[in-house]
């Protein structure tokens, strides 16, 4: 499927030149990708986050939370995009929903684990102070669950941004358009766009790590997020 270009390490210099020559074009494509990713993340946040929080608050449905995390990992992004294609057709809606499904797993699981795992003594103390269930959720459980909630949001956001280029084969647009179209953009263009995709994902990751550190309540021991990954919780 790829013809014409010779494989030589010097092609990376050409790729950087491609980025330097087409900043506006690539920025536009990056924006397209961020809009798609943002829509998908928003959709997933709207549905999965409240669901996970409510399940965690009720201490019910750990099977759903664990199942969601395994299924989200087992579902190939390519399959998620392809599955809904016959129903929703090629374009923005199909891709946004497919990416939202991929993002829902880590959001749901981490929201559940975060709220469910809040120290029971803290909840009992709050109840003893006369707090209602809603107050306990808002003022005790949610603040204490922030680290895991943010972990879920970070993993979901990186997943969505990193997967969005694949949506290009189903009319998703964005930088993926360049990556899957070597016939038009040549290898240097494909590599340039790949570098941009990489930078975009890393930027989203680092921004959300910073946000996570900023939002974690001061009373909680700050978990160093980068490089401090509890097994099974952090990565996708």
């Amino acid at each position: 499927m790829i013809v014409g270009d010779t494989f030589r390490p010097g092609i990376f210099v050409d790729a950087l030149a491609f980025i330097a020559d087409n900043p506006a074009f690539l920025a536009g494509k990056a924006l397209e990708q961020l809009v798609l990713a943002g829509a998908a993340l928003g959709l997933a946040l709207l549905v999965a986050l409240p669901f996970g929080i409510v399940l965690g608050h009720l201490h019910r449905g750990s099977g759903i939370a664990i199942g969601a995390s395994i299924f989200a990992r087992a579902l190939p992004s390519l399959a998620a995009i392809a599955f809904l294609l016959p129903v929703l057709g090629i374009g923005f809606l199909n891709n946004a929903i497919a990416l939202a499904i991929l993002a829902a797993g880590p959001l749901l699981t981490n929201a559940f684990e975060g709220v469910e795992g809040v120290d029971r003594d803290a909840v009992d103390a709050a109840r003893g102070m006369g707090m209602s269930a809603g107050q306990i959720l808002r003022r005790v459980e949610l603040p204490l669950a922030v680290p895991l909630l943010m972990t879920g949001i970070r993993v979901a956001a990186v997943t969505v941004v990193a997967t969005a280029p694949i949506a290009a084969i189903a009319g998703g647009g964005g930088l993926g358009d360049v990556i899957v179209n070597q016939a038009s953009y040549r290898l240097k263009g494909v590599l340039g766009a790949s570098l941009c995709v990489m930078a975009l994902s890393a930027a989203v990751f680092l921004c959300l790590v910073a946000l996570q550190n900023a939002l974690t309540p001061k009373g909680l021991v700050r978990t160093r997020v980068v490089g401090d990954l509890p097994p099974g919780k952090e990565l996708q």
Partner: protein, 238 residues
Amino acid sequence: MDDDGPVIPDFGEGSSCVTDNRTFCWDWAREHWGDTLQPAVLQHLWLTAIAIAIGFVLAFGLALLAHRVRRVEHPIGVGAALLYTIPSLALFQLLVPLTGITTTTVEIALVAYTLVILYPNIVAGLDGAPPEVVEAARGMWLTRRQVLTRVELPLAVPAIVGGLRIAVVSTIAIATIAAFLLPKGLGYPIFYAIKLPEPFKTEIYAAGALAIGLALLCDGGLVLLRRALVPWARKGGA
């Protein structure tokens, strides 16, 4: 694995179900199991097995190093977390100028992702042995190597298998992206069927379901493995 890839069937013929492109045509799946689906499953398993095997050896070595030399533990972890944010499609393409459009390119990327998942899990497992247990072992005049092989490693098994579960399931999912580069694995039938003028539903659903099924099957297998290896641990990580 190194044969010519799956034979691409002609969708123009076949039952009315196929020509009408209905939701799922069992007759197509039966007819093309031998020439399309089964080879894709085997290629997929092979891609995954190589990536997991190499990734596990590398991750284990790095984890032992980090366990011994604590100073390198954090830098390796940061590098691993950042590496995991690289989108698979971009990583495959960026390796092309170095290793060409080959299985090697796909494997390098897949190994990188498994490494990133396995390394922190193995480190956490090795560091997870309670200090008093390690002290007791030292008190029984076990050497450092004996403490590692007889105490820390057995106690790390649940965490290591937990990491393997995530790595295997993720790798099976990510390996579908290899289809953007090579006509190999379960991603290729999906990739091919999407690009038809009218996406061929049966092939998309069959290959997608096989990929998910394969991942869940391997996950279940590893759960059984953990039960066999550590019968004393009734409940492990999700």
